[in-house]
């Protein structure tokens, strides 16, 4: 499955022809181009972002006043569960995957990922898994046991709701595992000459850590999901204490995945911020090695803190103390990164563009979430905080005010590269400020509500509790966020009405993706770059005088893209051909899922479809 082949190399075997269309609907369905797949991931994730956002707005309408009557208790359970599942598995993970897919090959100087067809398979399977989970609304009820689906509630409650949870997440897990292996191999094995590990952009390092976290943590929740599925569907007793099972086993399996998952969600945004800050401070990242090793340390320690989600479960003082300490330890590498980012902007030549604002917003707000996270490490305090809105405040500060802000920064930053059009800067800044106000208005008062004792996941509360005022503020904040998202959509739509005139390097950036035209040609690089240093592109543009001031390298110097008017057409570069089979193989999985829930013959049909996809895959030629 070589992604690059020699001009004129003969086709190696295969019986079936491969699709050839390069434009239109089928070209997108059959694409194996990492850039198109990245866009597909991003579009799908953004769609689910809107869906999950609407769910959040309904939740907030319900809670805006005491004795709310907007959502019935059972619908409320479905909405908060689906809001969590959507935002974690169908928004932040795939939106990060969109950046990974689009940027990894461009940033390391490759033409595509290691396994282009597997990449397409992961993308389609993720989409089908999302649609599968959402189809539950029409098929008797959506998952309603919370995003962490605690047993035995998830295994004894009537209805198919939580079966959609376990089968849907199994599918999403397969998609993520396959993609993790693919991207990890791409980063390790497909780098351009001279792109050593310690010349890779920090974003690529964070991507690599995330792929390892995915590859090692997803199998653990897969075990839990299988056990939960079998308990419900086939009468096993893994989580049933009456028959010798143990519900705490689910919690261990879930959080052994669930805590690395937290870093899976935040490290991509940290990588994006680490790319944005040096560009708009016009300084190299402060302490590159420290940022990289902190990311790696977070990856390792992230596997050793899971039981801090379970302090109130009753594991005993020794276990609680040990996990309290490990939780405090993991704050250290995170703090190291914060100080490195501050060091990067310290005395920098700052340009407050929209991406920069989002990156700075990320740092400020992530610190708030990080500090409330450290308070959870104090076990007695956690006993009070657990399952209150204080927890909700904490993880929304890191995931929304943190990860989503970082991802929005990434969208503003790379939009011109991906679509060849700039987003409007003025509108972007307005959006940033509305979003920042909205986020703090929404998630700030939740700290107070939590400390006042408001439990999470309650459908309503009585006026006597005196929680009405802050809840109203939170609801107003949520709608403020919605306004900012609408502004972003307007900005995005407007950008497509303007001509494709973004230059190759609009931000005066440092990494390889800015050396190619915007948008990049299908083959990425006319000639695979040879890398000589960290921030190689920057060093091609600027030299330093003896006093340390930057002077531009004269235009026309070797490798300067500004002198390179006529980019090659890419003739003679063989790219992997499109294929029908990834989407066919992925299509079988939801059928298997419905089969597990409803009728076994659907599972058989699904397995046949998967096998058909696989064998078609094997019989088509490697390249055409």
């Amino acid at each position: 499955m070589a992604s690059v082949s020699v001009p004129g190399e003969t086709v190696r075997g295969g019986l079936l022809r491969r699709p050839r269309s390069t434009a239109g609907f089928w070209s997108w369905v059959t694409t194996v181009d990492h850039k198109r797949i990245g866009i597909l991931y991003g579009a799908t994730a953004f769609f689910f972002f809107l869906v999950g956002g609407v769910e959040a707005l309904f939740i907030r309408l319900q809670l805006a006043q005491p004795d709310g009557k907007i959502l019935s208790p059972s619908t409320y359970n479905e909405f908060f569960t689906m809001h969590g599942l959507t935002m974690i598995f169908l928004v932040v993970m795939p939106l990060s995957a969109a950046f990974f897919n689009y940027l990894i090959p461009l940033m390391i100087g490759a033409r595509d990922v290691a396994f282009p067809r597997l990449n397409a398979f992961s993308c389609w399977l993720f989409l089908f898994a999302g649609l599968f989970i959402y189809s539950s609304f029409a098929l008797g009820g959506a998952p309603n046991g919370g995003w962490f689906g605690y047993a035995p509630l998830s295994t004894v409650e009537p209805g198919n709701n939580m079966l959609f949870y376990s089968t849907g997440l199994l599918m999403a897990g397969i998609a993520s595992t396959v993609s993790a292996v693919n991207l990890a191999v791409t980063i390790i094995n497909m780098r351009a000459p001279g792109m050593t590990m310690f010349r890779m952009p920090v974003f690529i390092w964070m991507a690599l850590v995330v792929q390892f976290l995915l590859a090692f943590s997803l199998p653990i929740i897969t075990v839990g999901l299988f056990e939960s599925l079998f308990d419900r569907r086939f009468g096993t007793h893994f989580f049933d204490p009456a028959a010798g099972g143990d519900p705490v086993l689910w919690q261990h399996l879930f959080w052994l995945f669930g805590h690395p998952e937290v870093y899976i969600l935040i490290l991509p945004a940290m990588g994006i911020v680490s790319e944005i800050l040096p560009v708009f401070a016009r300084k190299p990242l402060f302490g590159y090695q420290f940022v990289v090793f902190s990311g790696i340390a977070i990856g390792f320690i992230g596997f050793g803190v899971w039981a801090h989600h379970m302090f109130a479960t009753g594991l005993g003082p020794v276990a609680n103390t040990a996990f309290g300490i490990s939780t405090m330890i993991i704050a250290i590498p995170t703090g190291v990164k914060i100080f490195n980012w501050l060091g990067t902007i310290w005395r920098g030549d700052l340009r407050f563009t929209t991406p920069m604002l989002f990156a700075l917003g990320f740092i400020a707000q992530f610190v708030v979430g990080g500090l409330s996270g450290v308070t959870h490490a104090v076990v007695p305090a956690d006993y009070q905080q657990t399952d209150t809105y204080y927890i909700v405040a904490h993880f929304h500060y890191v995931l929304f005010a943190g990860a989503i802000f970082g991802l929005f920064g990434g969208m503003y930053y790379w939009w011109p590269k991906i679509f060849g059009r700039m987003l409007n800067e003025r509108v972007g800044k307005v959006q940033f400020w509305i979003m920042a106000v909205g986020a703090n208005l929404t998630f700030g008062p939740m700290h107070i509500l939590g400390l006042e004792g408001m439990p999470r996941r309650i459908q309503t509360y009585t006026p006597a509790l005196g929680l009405g005022v802050w809840n109203l503020v939170v609801t107003i904040g949520a709608f403020t966020i919605a306004v900012s998202v609408l502004i972003f959509i307007g900005n995005a739509v407007a950008s497509f009405r303007r001509p494709k005139d973004a230059p190759a390097d609009p931000w005066d950036a440092r990494t390889l993706e800015w050396t190619v035209p915007s948008p990049p040609p299908p083959h990425n690089f006319d000639e695979i770059p040879v890398v000589h240093a960290l921030d190689d592109f920057w060093h091609r543009k600027y030299a330093e005088t003896e006093e340390g001031t930057l002077v531009p390298v004269p235009a026309g110097g070797s490798g300067d893209p500004r002198s390179d008017d006529a980019h090659g057409s890419g003739h003679g570069i063989h790219l992997p051909s499109p294929s029908y089979y990834p989407v066919i193989a992925a299509l079988g999985f939801p059928l298997i899922g419905y089969g597990v829930i409803f009728h076994w013959w659907m599972a058989v049909a699904g397995a046949v479809v998967v096998l058909a996809g696989l064998y078609g895959w094997a019989f088509e030629p490697a390249a055409e």
């Binding site: 094995n189 351009a192 086939f234």
Partner: protein
């Protein structure tokens, strides 16, 4: 290295095969999958007064012993096949690959027969839950392995596997050996390391 090879290789790391590296990573993740099951097994076993429970009794070891022999043999056969294709003896490889697939199918058939002989069902408590789900998911991995090997076979028949392009065989072999090793673990905890 010929001039063509130099042209093909535009990468920083030159000697590592992507399919092999991908499979090693995948199998490492799979190891976490089975490790989580085994951890659950030992947790439940350490809490139980009698293991296996009286309702199950001491499991019969003869058929599982044959299953072990089949799977270990198939691993050796596949490794010989890999060596053959790496040395350019594609015809020998094809025969050994076919033999591996047949041994895999024999394993599946015999294990299905073994299930039919058991006196306890999946609903009979925590031991049957663990036993059926762990061995069943391992069986699913053997099915996956047979499919994977047959896909490699399909690639061989269409001329996509040769001495120079035998990375898929190596990757498939890594997976097959892994499934073999997991079985040795299952065989140990369910049949060997039990009071007799």
């Amino acid at each position: 290295m010929s001039a063509t090879d130099l042209q093909v290789d535009e990468r920083a790391v030159r000697r590592t095969s992507s399919p092999v590296m991908g499979m090693v990573l995948f199998v490492a993740g799979e190891a976490m999958f089975f490790a989580a099951f085994f951890a659950g097994y030992f947790q439940f076993r350490s809490q139980a007064k009698v293991w296996p429970p009286a309702s199950v009794g001491t499991p019969e070891i003869s058929i599982p012993a044959v299953l072990t022999a089949i799977l270990v043999t198939s691993s050796i056969v596949l490794q010989l096949g890999l060596r053959a294709v790496a040395r350019g003896r594609v015809a020998t490889f094809e025969r050994l690959l076919l033999l591996t697939i047949l041994l895999g199918v024999c394993f599946l058939a015999l294990q299905a027969y073994d299930y039919s002989q058991l006196t306890f069902g999946i609903k009979g408590g925590i031991y049957p839950s663990l036993f059926y789900v762990m061995t069943g998911l391992h069986m699913a991995h053997v099915v996956g392995g047979v499919v994977l090997l047959s896909v490699v076979g399909a690639q061989t028949l269409t001329g996509q596997i040769s001495q120079r392009h035998h990375e898929p065989v190596e990757a498939a072999a890594i997976y097959w050996h892994f499934v073999d090793i997991v079985w040795l673990g299952l065989f140990t905890v369910y049949y060997v390391a039990v009071p007799r």
